[in-house]
Amino acid sequence: MSILEKLLKIDRKIIFIVMAILVLFPLLKPLGLGVSSGPRAKAVFDAVDAIPPGEVLLISIDFDPASMPELYPMLVALMRHCFARDVKVLLCGLWITGAGLADKAVTEIPPEYGKKYGEDVVYLGWKAGVDAVILGMGENIKNVFPVDYYGHPLDSLPVMQEVTRLRDIPFMVAISAGTPGFSDWLLYAQSRYGMKVGAGVTAVSAADAYPYLQTGQLTGLLAGMKGAAEYEVLIQKNGYSKAYMPAVAAMDSQSLAHLVIIALVLIGNLAFFATRKRRR
């Protein structure tokens, strides 16, 4: 078997081992490639930065543990940005599997900034119905969520004294891994109630968001782990956080993983065309 034929039949175990080593290596020894922020992430940052202190940012947790590495750092960075500026955070979710993930963030992030549950952050939880939930929140949030995720009546929470419906919220970010997600918030909250919507999506679904960016329906976009890393860099550069940046750390691994895939496709193609030419 010639070298070209061997290159055409690389055992997938070897591919798996190479990939595992190249993903793990930068996590143990960072390469420090550096992340610069793009205009899409900057637009989300600017929109959050423009919320006056004391007002509320709504974050919708529309993802599951599978997309947690890409999307959870966005949630954490957004919450840190808000708490550093005394902006209150209201969370809800359209994915039932995301319910527990938001609970983790609500438990861990507010104490970093001395913020308290009920006064600075409220987590509404998940309700079935997607479009009916968003439309209902547009009329009266308490009709859809009479109690929060932890069972407290909304009337007993100070944050909810200032927020009755979606129109009372200056900006929202839908962090979504698919459907339901940002497109549902655009369809109902943005078009019907004129809400300003930003999105955080997985890299694979970023292409779906571009038409809405150009029309101005989406204020900004955090695309994949890079989007999360850009936001982490922005809040750190502006002095809102000094915490560890998990998405920035993971970008080195993602860079190498992309290079491996490109190299493998190139090797596969070169070997394929060379062996075909020889056979002819």
């Binding site: 080195d252 860079s255 193609n269």
Partner: protein, 209 residues
């Protein structure tokens, strides 16, 4: 009669909801508020249908001993255990459903499933992604640029690579996406009208009216 009444309700509500959208009168808003509550209640019944359908499907697989029937046992056991724990101990934070099933089982299992995708994608791309035609070659080049443009190593290779990737996403990608969106939207309007006007009756189910 069994078909006429649902068809009449569908026509009446379809027309009412369309008119309601353009009328800001308080009575219209109150009607809209009421109907969104109805939608939420009706949506909850979808769960009952879903669970019923899941049970019937897997019981049939088990009865006929179809290939992979062992997995049906796992599904059924998981369904019963989750339901018993959820109904018995509740779903609030700190409950066994949240602590044991969600945090310690679902989260790691779900994350692991997604994580191994990177390995399969690398292997599948190596085997299947061949530039056999001009179109495939173009797709391959565009994919390489976007892949590199989305990670820091891209700008380390060439400073303007992220801009080229952004152009691919903002211009050719968006043109194609927008065409698809228009097609989907027109299709959705046509289907909705057919349902409202009673031309499309598949949603009524089989059997004689």
């Amino acid at each position: 009669m069994r078909r006429t009444i649902p068809l009449a309700i569908c026509l009446g509500m379809g027309v009412l909801m369309m008119v309601q959208f353009f009328v800001p009168h308080p009575a219209s808003v109150a009607f809209y508020d009421l109907t969104t509550k109805w939608i939420r209640i009706v949506s909850a019944f979808a769960l009952v249908l879903g669970v019923g359908s899941l049970i019937l499907y897997h019981l049939d697989r088990l009865r006929r001993k179809r290939q992979g029937w062992g997995y049906s046992i796992v599904t059924m056991v998981a369904l019963v255990v989750t339901a018993v724990i959820g109904l018995g101990w509740g779903v609030k934070p700190g409950s066994p459903l949240q602590e044991v099933l969600f945090k310690n089982m679902l989260v790691p299992l779900n994350a692991s499933m997604f994580a191994i995708l990177a390995f399969y994608m690398a292997s599948a791309a190596y085997r299947a992604f061949r530039a056999r035609t001009k179109e495939a070659a173009l797709l391959l080049i565009a994919a390489f640029i976007v892949m590199l443009g989305m990670v820091p190593v891209g700008s380390a290779i060439w400073g303007r690579l992220p801009e080229v990737a952004e152009w691919i996403l903002s211009v050719p990608n968006m043109a194609a996406k927008r065409a698809i969106l228009f097609g989907v939207a027109l299709g959705a309007i046509a289907t909705s009208l057919k349902v409202i006007l009673g031309i499309e009756r598949g949603w009524l189910g089989g059997g004689k009216g």
